[in-house]
C-alpha cells in the first residue's frame, strides 16, 4: 500500500489550472523527488499532501485513509519550507518543540527529543540560541529538526537547499541522504535542480504544466526519457532532426543531416516519420580524420574546447551550422586529447546509445 496516493487531483488558482488530473503513488520509505521548472505545480502538489491547500477535485489518501478534507494540523505530515519559516520570536528549542508542545507531550520527553533531533542535524547544544544569530545553513537544519522531531509519517521538503551557496548545498545533499537512511521515513522532495534530483532520489517525478511527464528512477529519467521535455530538462542533450527511411526489425535507418545512419527502433517508428534523435554529450564520439568522414558520422569543426580537469568539453560546429556539445573523459593513454581551434573532426556515436523520440 502506498503511503501517499494522489488520485486525479486538480487544482486551480485565480482561474489558472495549476494541477491537471494528476495521479501519483508514493511508496513507503522512499526518497521521491518532484522535479520541474518553476510554475509546473510541484510545490502545489507538496502543499496538497501537507494539507495546506485543498484540491478542487480528486482524493488524497495518506496511509490508506482518505484525508482529502483533513486540515494540515491533523495530518501526520511535516514540511520543511523553502524560506525555513522559523518562528522569529522563539529560540531554537522553542521552535523545535512547538509541535510537541501542541501534542501536550511532557516536558522531559520534549527535551530529550529536541536533543536527539539537534544531534541528527549536527547542531548539538544550540537549544538556547535565538534564531537571528544563526547562519543560513544552521537555520535550515533547525527547520529540518523542527519537522522530524514530530516523527511524521512523511517529510516534505520544498526546495530547502535553494538559498544555500554551492558548497553548503553539496554538503547538505549528502547530509539529507544520510538523514533519510537514518530515519527510514518517506521523503518527498521538491526541486528545479535536476542534478539534485538525480543525486538524492530513489524515484523522480518530472512535472510540467501541472501534469506528470515521467516517473522513474534517476537512471530511467536520464537514459530513457519518454518525451522531449524530459529529455531536455534533465541533463544536457544534443537534439538532431531526422527522418526514418527504412525499418530493419529492431533497428531502423534514418536520414540525419544528409547522411544515413542505423539506429535502434525502440518505439515502433515507421517509414517517413519525423523523429528527434537525442544524444547526451558523453555518449558522442569525436575523431580526427583526414579527408572525408566515414559512413555514419557527421563532419564538423571544433569551435570551443573547455578543459575541466576530469573531462574535456567540446563545442563542435557541424556543417549545417548546428552546434554539438561533446564531453570526453580524460584518458591518460591518449596523449592527443587537445584539439586546435577550427580543427576538422567527425562526430558519431555507438548504436543504441541514442534515444529516439517522435518529433512533437
Amino acid at each position: 500500500m502506498p503511503v501517499v496516493r494522489l488520485q486525479n487531483i486538480s487544482k486551480s488558482f485565480n482561474n489558472q489550472q495549476v494541477i491537471d488530473d494528476l495521479s501519483l503513488d508514493v511508496h513507503k520509505g522512499e526518497f521521491l523527488t518532484l522535479l520541474g521548472p518553476s510554475g509546473c505545480g510541484k510545490t502545489t502538489v507538496l502543499r496538497l499532501i501537507a494539507g495546506l491547500e485543498t484540491c478542487d477535485s480528486g482524493s488524497v489518501f495518506i496511509d490508506g485513509r482518505d484525508q482529502t478534507r483533513l486540515p494540515a494540523c491533523d495530518r501526520d505530515v511535516n514540511t520543511v519550507f523553502q524560506s525555513y519559516a522559523l518562528f522569529p520570536h522563539m529560540t531554537v528549542f522553542d521552535n523545535i518543540a512547538f509541535g510537541l508542545k501542541l501534542k501536550k507531550i511532557p516536558l522531559r520527553q520534549i527535551r530529550e527529543r529536541v536533543k536527539e533531533s539537534l544531534a541528527l542535524v549536527k547542531l548539538e547544544g544550540l537549544e538556547t540560541r535565538s534564531i537571528h544569530r544563526l547562519s543560513g545553513g544552521q537555520q535550515q537544519r533547525v527547520a529540518i529538526a523542527r519537522a522530524i522531531v514530530n516523527q511524521p509519517l512523511i517529510l516534505l521538503l520544498d526546495e530547502p537547499l535553494s538559498a544555500l551557496d554551492y558548497r553548503l548545498r553539496k554538503q547538505m545533499r549528502l547530509d539529507l541522504r544520510q538523514l533519510h537512511r537514518q530515519l527510514g521515513i518517506t521523503f518527498v522532495f521538491v526541486t528545479h535542480d535536476q542534478e539534485e534530483a538525480l543525486t538524492l532520489s530513489d524515484r523522480v517525478v518530472v512535472m510540467n504544466h501541472g501534469t506528470i511527464q515521467q516517473t522513474g528512477t534517476p537512471k530511467d529519467i536520464y537514459e530513457t526519457p519518454v518525451n522531449l521535455f524530459v529529455a531536455d530538462f534533465v541533463g544536457e542533450s544534443n537534439l538532431f532532426d531526422a527522418t526514418v527511411i527504412r525499418t530493419l526489425g529492431t533497428d531502423m535507418e534514418i536520414r540525419i543531416q544528409g547522411i544515413s545512419k542505423t539506429v535502434q527502433n525502440r518505439r515502433g517508428f515507421h517509414v517517413g516519420q519525423a523523429v528527434k534523435v537525442l544524444l547526451r554529450p558523453e555518449d558522442m564520439t569525436v575523431a580526427r580524420i583526414q579527408g572525408k568522414c566515414p559512413e555514419g558520422s557527421l563532419p564538423g569543426r571544433v569551435k570551443e574546447m573547455i578543459y575541466k580537469g576530469t573531462t574535456v568539453d567540446l563545442i563542435i560546429r557541424l556543417e549545417n551550422g548546428q552546434e554539438v556539445f561533446v564531453t570526453e573523459f580524460f584518458n591518460e593513454d591518449e596523449q592527443e586529447i587537445f584539439y586546435d581551434m577550427d580543427e576538422p573532426v567527425c562526430v558519431s556515436w555507438i548504436k543504441g546509445w541514442e534515444v529516439t523520440l517522435a518529433n512533437e
Binding site: 501537507a50 494539507g51 495546506l52 486540515p71 494540515a72 494540523c73 491533523d74 505530515v77 511535516n78 514540511t79 519550507f81 523553502q82 524560506s83 519559516a85 522559523l86 518562528f87 522569529p88 520570536h89 512547538f98 509541535g99 501542541l102 501534542k103 537571528h132 523542527r146 519537522a147 514530530n150
Partner: protein, 256 residues
C-alpha cells in the same frame, strides 16, 4: 574643520530644540514668581499644582481621555491592520486612502469637520465627542505601525505553525500576537501621547463642562501666567518623554 562645523551645527539645533524646554523645567523649580530672578530651588509650584482642584480635574480628564481613546484606537487599529494585510475586501484601497488622509490632514480641518458633524447631529460637545475625535486621529498611527509589522513577516510562518499542528486560535495567540505585540504596544503608547498633547482638534470638539489640560494651559497662558503652568508643563513633558522612550524601544524590537 568640517568635523567642528558638523558638531557645532548639530549642537546648535539640539540647543534650539531643547533650550526653551529646559529653561521651562528649570524655572518650574524657581522660588520666585517671575523669571526675572532666581530665588532658589523650591517645589512650591508643584505643591500648589496638587492643591489646585481645577488643574487636577483637567489633568485627570486628559489622562482619562488619553487612556480610553488609546485603548480603543489600539484595539480597533490592530484589528484593522490585521484585516487589511490578510484579507482582500472591497474598498481596501479607499480604506488606505482614508487612513493616510487622516495622517496628512491639517488638524484644523479635522477639528472643524468634526465640530460640524457633532453639532449637526445634535450632540453636545463633551467627553464622548472628544473621545471619538481622539480615537479618529490615533487610529491611522496604530494601523500603519501594526500593518508594517505584519507585512514584515514571512507568511510561511503561519503555514509552518499549521503544519506542526496548530489550530486557528493557536496560530493567533502563539504566533501572530507575540510577533505583532511590540507594534501594538508602540501604537498604544503613541496614541496615548498624541491624545494627551492634542490642542487644535480638542479645541473644537470639547465643551465647557469637560476641561482638558492642554486647553487649560492655553487659557492660562493667554490670560496671564501663574507659575504653576511651568510645573504643569514639566509634568506633561516628563510623561511624554517616558511614553516616547518606551515606544522607541519597542519600535526597535519591530526592526528585528
Amino acid at each position: 574643520m568640517t568635523r567642528w562645523l558638523k558638531i557645532s551645527w548639530t549642537t546648535s539645533v539640539f540647543a534650539f530644540l531643547y533650550g526653551p524646554l529646559l529653561v521651562l523645567m528649570v524655572f518650574s523649580f524657581n522660588q520666585a514668581r517671575y523669571t526675572t530672578s532666581w530665588q532658589g530651588f523650591s517645589l512650591k509650584w508643584y505643591k500648589s499644582l496638587i492643591n489646585n482642584p481645577q488643574l487636577l480635574d483637567a489633568f485627570v480628564n486628559s489622562l482619562t481621555v488619553a487612556l480610553v481613546s488609546s485603548l480603543i484606537a489600539t484595539a480597533l487599529g490592530t484589528l484593522g491592520a490585521f484585516a487589511v494585510s490578510r484579507y482582500r475586501f472591497a474598498g481596501r484601497k479607499l480604506f488606505f486612502g482614508l487612513v493616510y488622509s487622516v495622517m496628512m490632514s491639517p488638524d484644523i480641518v479635522m477639528g472643524i469637520s468634526l465640530l460640524m458633524l457633532f453639532v449637526t447631529a445634535g450632540l453636545t460637545p463633551g467627553f464622548l465627542t472628544l473621545l471619538a475625535a481622539h480615537v479618529t486621529f490615533c487610529l491611522p498611527f496604530v494601523i500603519v505601525l501594526v500593518h508594517a509589522r505584519i507585512s514584515g513577516f514571512d507568511p510561511a510562518v503561519v503555514d509552518a505553525a499549521r503544519d506542526l499542528g496548530a489550530r486557528e486560535q493557536d496560530v493567533f495567540f502563539k504566533i501572530i500576537f507575540p510577533m505583532i505585540l511590540p507594534a501594538v504596544l508602540a501604537g498604544w503608547l503613541l496614541s496615548f501621547t498624541l491624545s494627551l498633547d492634542d490642542v487644535i482638534i480638542s479645541f473644537f470638539v470639547t465643551g465647557p463642562g469637560f476641561e482638558i489640560l492642554p486647553l487649560k494651559i492655553y487659557s492660562m497662558v493667554k490670560l496671564g501666567v501663574t507659575p504653576e503652568v511651568n510645573a504643569l508643563c514639566t509634568v506633561l513633558f516628563m510623561l511624554t518623554l517616558a511614553a516616547v522612550s518606551a515606544a522607541h524601544i519597542l519600535t526597535k524590537e519591530i526592526k528585528k
